[in-house]
């Protein structure tokens, strides 16, 4: 059936859980509202009055043509045409596991020791903590040869992962239930999310023989089932689904209001977000770095400097040989 072919992953869940109320037209907020209702619902004949907004409203032309309705169906679950080929990599995630797989797949030849260590696979029963596996803390807690009881982790596809560093989430259960904060760390291996300032316990750090230590609050990780992404408009927790816009971009869409939740800029491995970088006193500015000042000449660098500074060298070096 045509319908079955065009749907994306898990079509049933999207249609059942996504649509909010009944057949009544929902009140759209002032901002971009790509999707209000499922395109496949019967009885939706009224044209949605969408407010004027600067953002373009993508249309799902495939479904429109098929159903023969004049609905504006902005965001489609079906992948864009042409359908992605099998084996096509979706937007690469920054998780170390995927980097390792890419390295191994490349089959790099003579790698340095550090690169070999970075590409080495973790042991099968590795117990992930909140530190990356190559840090000293992780190596102290997981010495080689250690075997611990396995923790049960609900398997989630890397393509279905919805929470990223920098997202605003609300805690649903626990000590700080109902509070919202930003995600500072994501540990995909255990479905963990560390939220800034929430779910904290207190401990002493930098303890020495003479000093009792500083009393600080440290956040404990939360499972994905204990948090929910926050809709930017009404600041309430929502369910989120991955969908494709008409341009073919894969975005997260809030199922209650239809708003697209943009993925925040992901930092690199060293924690730097290039778009938010502020130049220091020793940093060359972007304009100065991109300026093309090279004038090709047949002289070597040293000869050019001699000409520029009027250095005259008449002495000749003694002849030397090397074998």
């Amino acid at each position: 059936m045509e319908r079955g072919l065009q749907r994306g992953p898990r079509p049933g869940r999207g249609h059942k859980g996504g649509v909010g109320g009944g057949g009544a037209v929902l009140q759209l907020p002032a901002c971009t509202a790509p999707l209000q209702q499922s395109p496949h619902r019967r009885g939706v004949s009224e044209r949605l009055q969408l407010p004027a907004c600067a953002a373009p409203l993508p249309q799902c032309t495939a479904h429109q043509r098929r159903r023969g309705e004049g609905l504006q169906l902005p965001v489609c679950i079906a992948p864009p045409r042409p359908a992605p080929l099998k084996g096509l990599r979706l937007p690469a995630c920054t998780a170390p596991g995927h980097a390792l797989r890419e390295l191994e797949g490349a089959g790099a030849g003579a790698m340095r020791l550090s690169a070999v260590l970075a590409a080495a696979r973790l042991p099968p029963g590795y117990r992930h903590g909140t530190w990356p596996p190559d840090t000293a803390a992780a190596q102290r807690r997981n010495p080689p040869g250690q075997r611990r009881r396995r923790v049960l982790v609900e398997p989630i596809d890397s393509e279905d992962w919805k929470v990223f560093q920098g997202d605003t989430v609300q805690v649903l259960s626990g000590k700080d239930a109902g509070k919202q904060a930003m995600v500072t760390q994501v540990v995909r291996a255990r479905n963990w999310v560390v939220v800034e300032g929430l779910n904290t316990h207190y401990r002493y750090i930098n303890r020495t023989a003479k000093y009792a230590g500083t009393y600080i609050a440290s956040e404990a990780p939360l499972l994905l089932s204990q948090i929910a992404l926050v809709d930017p408009e009404d600041r309430k927790p929502t369910e989120v689904q991955w969908r494709y816009t008409e341009e073919g971009e894969r975005v997260r869409v809030s199922l209650r209001s239809g708003r697209i939740i943009p993925v925040p800029l992901q930092p690199r491995r060293d924690g730097i977000v290039p778009e938010q970088w502020i130049d220091g006193p020793k940093d060359t500015s972007v304009e100065a770095a991109m300026e093309k000042t090279y004038v090709p000449s047949l002289k070597t660098f040293e000869e050019e400097i001699m000409d520029a500074m009027d250095i005259v060298e008449t002495r000749k070096a003694k002849k030397s040989y090397w074998y």
Partner: protein, 135 residues
């Protein structure tokens, strides 16, 4: 055992035998240089005579109005220029002059020095091969 475990076990059990023994290691009395050349001559009296010509001198041009700094901003995009090659240098600098001379009829294949050809590196202060300067 896996590679990571083997390496870690080796590091835990003893010192790293394969790392180079530099001047930073060993006791205080251990003296070892890092490959710098002597800037003089050691005589039979064990006296060291410094030769000023062997002492390196840094020639630094005036950096007033120089905009480049030690580091590059993270916001700068990757460069779009391909690495320079000898062929590119030739086509940019030498080929137009040769073409012009060929058109004028003054091209002399025995006198290529005027386009920058160097038949031998003898007598040059900065020889390209074998390289006799430090960069």
């Amino acid at each position: 055992m896996g590679l990571l475990q083997e390496l870690a076990r080796g590091l835990v059990r003893g010192a790293d035998r394969m790392s180079p023994f530099t001047s930073k290691r060993g006791p205080r009395t251990h003296y070892k240089g890092r490959g710098a050349r002597r800037a003089g001559v050691l005589t039979s009296n064990k006296k060291f005579i410094r030769i000023p010509q062997m002492v390196p001198e840094f020639i630094v041009p005036d950096l007033a109005g120089f905009k480049l700094k030690p580091y590059v901003s993270y916001r700068a995009p990757e460069g779009s220029e391909p690495p320079a090659t000898a062929k590119q240098l030739f086509t940019e600098l030498v080929a137009p002059r040769i073409e012009k001379d060929v058109k004028d009829g003054t091209f002399d294949p025995n006198n290529l020095e005027k386009y920058g050809f160097e038949p031998t590196q003898e007598g040059k202060l900065f020889q390209l091969f074998p390289k006799n300067y430090m960069r």
